[in-house]
Symmetry: C3
């Protein structure tokens, strides 16, 4: 059994945002899968998906601070500067964090740990809606 | 053909640990799959899974040293400090390294390269058993 | 429907290289899948796969510069030095960037964003051909 759809996520500010509820609300098909996998894929090179803590919002703030120190704006060696000082750091963060997540599905639900949530990592200062392709496969 | 099960890994000390043999010993169902994929998913936000060299244990030590320099304890900008100085670095490492691996299955075995092994990356100083959901799909 | 094959990629110099066209040219089976997933897996611990911008080659240069600063050669704490000064950095980059990609397949094509391309990240100074296992699954 295969289901595939593209979601347009609500635009977010730069940073790390918990989107588990927004994803789940858009895939009622999840309930029909007893055993399988859910694949989430973001179609961009300046935003990422990751899993991290779903409880304390300070984790999200600290992740944004950390990754923006790791991939700083205006590094003297950047050649790719034409799209703004936040653009090359966004590309680096994309490869560090990744464009996709694969999550086990068990009895119609994401089989996440108690503390795990799905994050949209928005790396641009001003971004619009992000497209995520969701592919569900199972029985 | 779908198989899914949850393993409780033996507790490990902080660091990078080769667990290929422990994983394989717990999924005899792998042998029944001629062509497919194996998905390994860790249900935690302070431990990760990765693939790296299976030969020289110095690689494991150097990875632990490197990632603990990249995501240091007690960085002055951390806000999320309530769970110990090793906690926020653990969350950063989780997003850097990732919670899951997908490995091709060929003729009943993981189709890994000669030097590739499955690592549990334990980011906490004192951790218990970690839960890994294994999903096998193939024909 | 399952298809699986191993490609030997052309050898590349150290750095980040766009390989979308080389991959697509070798999997005509992709056209037979209406809805599914493509899994690409590199069987090495000193080269990686990632997705990033397919337009400006400066992005590739900046990624190589950034990751070689993040995981420098000859760090004083490295123990694993026997295979050359580029070897331990290569292992670190492998775990940072990852050995595999999963890409949605829609109507016989990779469902990538406009700006997304598949990169081979070659971390060694002198490397031969790299093996990539491609697994296609869908209906």
């Amino acid at each position: 059994m295969w289901h595939q759809k593209t979601l347009s996520l609500k635009p977010r500010t730069r940073g790390f945002h918990l989107i588990t509820a927004e994803i789940e609300a858009n895939i009622p098909e999840l309930k029909t899968i007893k055993t399988g996998l859910a694949h989430l894929f973001i179609k961009h090179t300046s935003a990422s998906l990751t899993l991290n803590e779903n409880a304390d919002p300070d984790v999200q703030t600290d992740l944004e601070t950390h990754f923006s120190k790791t991939a700083p704006e205006n590094a003297p060696y950047y050649r790719h500067c034409c799209e703004g000082s936040d653009d090359m750091p966004a590309h680096i963060k994309c490869s560090l964090l990744g464009a996709s997540l694969t999550i086990p599905v068990t009895n119609g639900r994401f089989n996440l740990g108690t503390w795990q949530g799905i994050y949209l990592c928005e790396h641009r200062n001003r971004a619009g809606s992000r497209q995520v392709v969701i592919t569900l496969n199972g029985e």
